[in-house]
């Protein structure tokens, strides 16, 4: 699961972070948080290119300072999100210990918040799912259940949260059939795609989830050998995200 996620995230980021940067800046007094999702992506690419974690680490420090000085809750979210990318970077460097450390730090950061938003819960659920391969295998079902629970809390707070649906679909995809997995993957991921497409771009708020949901859904149809659905979904994915390296690569592999 983690390998797939890493590859996906990596490719999305390296070659396609520009397409989500559609929102216009709001105010003459811009801040670190304006377009932060793209900033994190750029820093991640920069870290990879240099083979140093420093660009990402510096950004995380800035976010930490912002969080401490302003008590603006969005800093916490983006710091956790940046830590996730730091974990991906460490995975690329084949340093699983550091990757686990960054993931755990991101989870701890979100858990500490007393006033979690729907986005916080969705990211927390996502990170918990991502952390499973680092943990003892017997704990996997319990962490997975916790991840799903947090995604469902996110949906109770914001029923149109695309990322929460993505987390649910992702979890269901990896849940073994004997534990009831795989039955709602399609429903959740389709919902994530639909909601992500309808979301108004906001330079301060997260936009990820839709493209990842497409990729996961295509893999699901491939696993279930539903060729017709696979073709239609792939075509729709490429229409929605024509510049996506990963979706294009996936299309190439499937063809």
């Amino acid at each position: 699961m983690q390998h797939l996620l890493i590859t996906t995230m990596l490719c999305f980021t390296c070659l396609f972070f520009s397409q989500t940067a559609g929102a216009s800046p709001a105010s003459p007094n811009d801040s670190l948080l304006n377009g932060i999702e793209q900033t994190i992506d750029r820093k991640f690419v920069s870290s990879l290119a240099r083979g140093q974690v420093r660009p990402l680490a510096e950004l995380i420090t800035q976010l930490e300072q912002g969080r401490t000085l302003t008590r603006q809750p969005l800093y916490r979210y983006w710091q956790a999100y940046a830590l996730f990318w730091q974990a991906i970077y460490h995975m690329q460097q084949e340093d699983t210990k550091e990757a686990e450390k960054a993931t755990d730090a991101a989870i701890a950061l979100l858990k500490k918040s007393n006033n979690k938003t729907a986005e916080d819960y969705a990211l927390l659920g996502f990170l918990q799912g991502f952390s499973i391969p680092f943990k003892a295998s017997l704990r996997a079902p319990f962490i997975s259940a916790q991840a799903s629970k947090n995604a469902r809390i996110a949906l109770e707070m914001q029923p149109d949260n695309a990322r929460a649906y993505y987390v649910l679909g992702n979890n269901d995809y990896y849940t073994p059939a004997q534990f009831g997995g795989g039955e709602k993957v399609e429903e959740y991921l389709r919902k994530a795609i639909e909601l992500a497409a309808a979301q108004t771009p906001n330079p301060y708020l997260p936009a990820w989830g839709g493209e990842q949901a497409y990729e996961m859904l295509i893999r699901f149809y491939e696993r279930e050998r539903e060729d017709q659905q696979l073709e239609q979904t792939l075509a729709a994915a490429l229409r929605a995200y024509p510049d996506s390296f990963r979706l294009n690569e996936l299309a190439g592999n499937l063809n």
């Binding site: 216009s24 701890a108 007393n114 729907a118 109770e156 059939a177 004997q178 108004t200």
Partner: protein, 692 residues
């Protein structure tokens, strides 16, 4: 120019700026913008008559029609009034979680080799567990078991063990791990929201989710049972189970090692119901009944003979919880009734007991930093005794004189509490609570109080300082037919280090001053006892499959009374525990656990000056130290999954080295020392669990 541009600031009700709010014209949304970190925005006026819309996640969307000139605008957004569902409330830990030592989940219990799948036995390996009696009843940080409290969904269940007196396999709790979601352990300073405990508390939460229907069959050397988990719909379900315990196979296999235990049997049944009739209303009901009996051959004060005991018990714990924005209101109701009979020599005891418990809790988040909980608790306990007891406490033979005694006791308490939690900073958490009695009758008005400060030193290290003064009630027996007010002062300092390599280091120091304890042998009330303890724990995974834990506890337990000072049974006790585990999902789980200590203190008796007179005490109480104790325990299990079904085979060997661990001195009828009483020798148990 100014007339062409609209400027403003978006604030919450506390006048704090709101960032990332979407501000746009309803008819021309393309002219929209977002507020910056100061909550400010600037956008061109709409070219047509239009309404300005402002939306932000977590806030109610609002609209207005601004007029040119009235600038900058101040726009206030109200936080969304979420209908907080049971799911959200359940997702929160208790308000008092800073006092928490550990939170055990169902899997932690199943994988604990000492636990034998029993939730309360899973505590034994914790350094805070100073259990030296091989009982499942929690003994925490040097305090006796009856001082600690065990709660199920907020309702106290007293003496929550089966076959309490059996020196054998009967030392299990009344709870089924399959019904348990979490177990919170507070070894000292049990939060006043959890009752008023003069020792620690263990709070059990039953499961809130059932992913699928299932049936579980279990068959062991001394047990056969069936459990059914049935979903009613997505949120509602029940679990029902029954077990029959029988002694034939177990006693036959372990005949040479378990000589004192002659028979045991029980039949029990449990029912756990979870309902969410409304998204914000949660109902949890656990009901349990057991009919049990056992027979032993014992030596008590020089008399050797059979002891027989029977008990029927039923309890239920009900919780209704209504969730609402930033809080919840809970009603707890509990009933616990039992009939107990036991006979030994000239002692014949029949006891009936009825406890009724009702409590209301109200929890509310005041803001991001402050949270409070308040509640009121009413409890009524009734005890009825019909006994035949020895005329002289030291003459308990079958032919010795006895007298009949019938008595009843009643206790009622009404308490209220307030509890606040304040988080001034991400790394600091402060908590304080007060609990007071509202009834003067019986024990007068009393007040308990506590505080705690938890500081996250670094990402890996945390420090917890907690202290308080507590009051609870003793649990009467046929030999001590009184309900006494117990007191305890407690101060504890806990340090935790948890590295990303999962190295966990725990250090603790604590001091307690307890009073109200009764010593039945001396037939006197202690003035007070002082307990000082040190704990250290290290646990770490060695490889993917191997892990270990080592812990050491040192206890000083001094008792004061009648102008004298003497040792408690656990004075100068060094208790060490080691655990080695191997868990491979494709192979097997293996656990090896060793518990050792340097011996308990006991009180010696000397022969009476003349036949028929009471024995004398050659020294102060607890003047003799029994030999060091050691017990190596092995557990082995193999999991076989296929499709939606699974089979688990397990084997447990207790006291693998067959060490003779002394539990007390043994006497002849004229009180000459005659060897030792021993804890359980080596015993073997195996079985299977089949999940359909």
């Amino acid at each position: 120019m100014a007339q062409d541009t609209l400027r403003g600031v978006v604030l919450n009700q506390q006048r704090e700026p709101l960032m990332a709010a979407h501000v746009y014209w309803q008819k021309q949304p393309s002219l929209g913008t977002f507020t910056d970190i100061q909550g400010r925005f600037t956008l061109p006026f709409s070219t047509v008559a239009d309404s300005l819309r402002i939306s932000l996640l977590g806030y109610e969307e609002t609209g207005l029609q601004p007029q040119p000139g009235a600038q900058p605008l101040e726009i206030f957004l109200s936080a969304t009034e979420y209908e907080l569902s049971a799911l959200l409330v359940e997702g929160k830990d208790p308000i008092s979680d800073a006092f928490l030592l550990t939170k055990q989940e169902q899997l932690d219990i199943y994988l604990n080799p000492v636990a034998a799948a029993d939730p309360l036995r899973a505590l034994i390996n914790l350094p805070a567990s100073t259990n030296t009696s091989e009982s499942a009843n929690p003994e925490l940080r040097g305090s006796s078991a009856d001082r600690s409290r065990v709660l199920v969904n907020g309702v106290p269940i007293y003496r929550p063990v089966r076959n309490t007196q059996i020196n054998g396999i009967g030392n299990f709790s009344l709870f089924n791990t399959e019904l348990l979601q979490h177990q919170y352990v507070y070894p000292t300073n049990a939060p006043l929201t959890r009752g008023n405990s003069t020792a620690g508390a263990v709070a059990i939460e039953t499961v809130k989710e059932l992913p699928q229907n299932y049936t579980q069959l279990s068959l062991g050397l001394a047990n056969a049972g069936v459990l059914r988990g049935q979903r009613l719909d997505e949120h509602n379900f029940f679990q029902v189970y029954t077990n029959r315990q029988f002694s034939g196979g177990f006693l036959t296999l372990n005949q040479s090692k378990i000589r004192d235990l002659e028979s045991f049997q029980s039949q029990d049944a449990g029912f756990n119901l979870h309902l969410e009739p409304l998204p914000d209303l949660q109902v949890d009901l656990l009901a349990y009944g057991i009919d049990e009996s056992y027979g032993l051959r014992l030596n008590i004060l020089g008399q050797t003979g059979p002891l027989e005991s029977q008990r029927q018990r039923y309890f239920h714990a009900l919780r209704l919880r209504k969730s609402y924005r930033k809080g919840s209101l809970s009603l707890h109701h509990g009933f616990d009734g039992s009939k107990t009979y036991f006979t030994f020599g000239n002692t014949d005891s029949r006891q009936r007991q009825r406890n009724l418990y009702t409590a209301f809790d109200w929890r509310r988040e005041l803001n991001e930093r402050w949270e409070m909980q308040t509640g009121i608790v009413h409890e009524q306990q009734r005890y009825f005794f019909h006994d035949s007891l020895p005329v002289d406490w030291f003459r308990n033979g079958l032919d010795d004189p006895a007298f009949a005694e019938a008595d009843s006791l009643r206790m009622q308490r009404l308490e209220t509490y307030r509890y606040v939690r304040y988080q001034p900073h991400d790394d600091w958490l402060l908590q304080a609570g007060l609990r007071m009695s509202l009834l003067k009758r019986d024990f007068g008005r009393y007040l308990s109080g506590q505080f705690s400060a938890r500081h996250q030193l670094t990402r890996e290290q945390a420090l917890l300082l907690s202290g308080g003064y507590y009051q609870s009630f003793s649990l009467p027996t046929s030999f001590d037919k009184q309900i006494r007010l117990l007191n305890s002062w407690q101060l504890a300092l806990d340090y935790d280090y948890l590295s990303t390599e999962d190295l966990h280091l725990h250090l603790a120091a604590y001091y307690k001053r307890e009073s109200g304890q009764y010593d039945p042998l001396q037939n006197q009330l202690e003035d007070h006892r002082k307990i000082f303890g040190l704990e250290a724990l290290i646990e770490q995974p060695l490889t993917t499959y191997w892990s270990y834990s080592l812990s050491g506890t040192w206890l000083q337990q001094r008792v004061f009374g009648a102008g004298q000072e003497w040792s408690g049974t656990q004075d100068q006790l060094f208790l060490a525990k080691a655990l080695l585990q191997y868990r491979h999902p494709d192979w097997f789980d293996f656990g090896l656990n060793y518990i050792t200590h340097n011996g308990l203190w006991t009180t010696r008796l000397s022969p009476a000056a003349e036949p028929g007179l009471a024995p004398s005490f050659p020294g102060l109480p607890n003047d003799f130290r029994l030999r060091p104790y050691g017990s190596l325990n092995l557990s082995l299990s193999r999991y076989f999954p296929w499709g939606k079904r699974s089979l688990v085979l397990f084997l447990n060997v207790n006291n693998l080295l067959d060490q003779g661990n002394e539990s007390n001195l043994r006497y002849t009828p004229d009180f000459h020392e005659n060897g030792r009483e021993y804890y359980q020798r080596r015993s073997i148990y195996f079985g299977l669990v089949w999940k359909l």
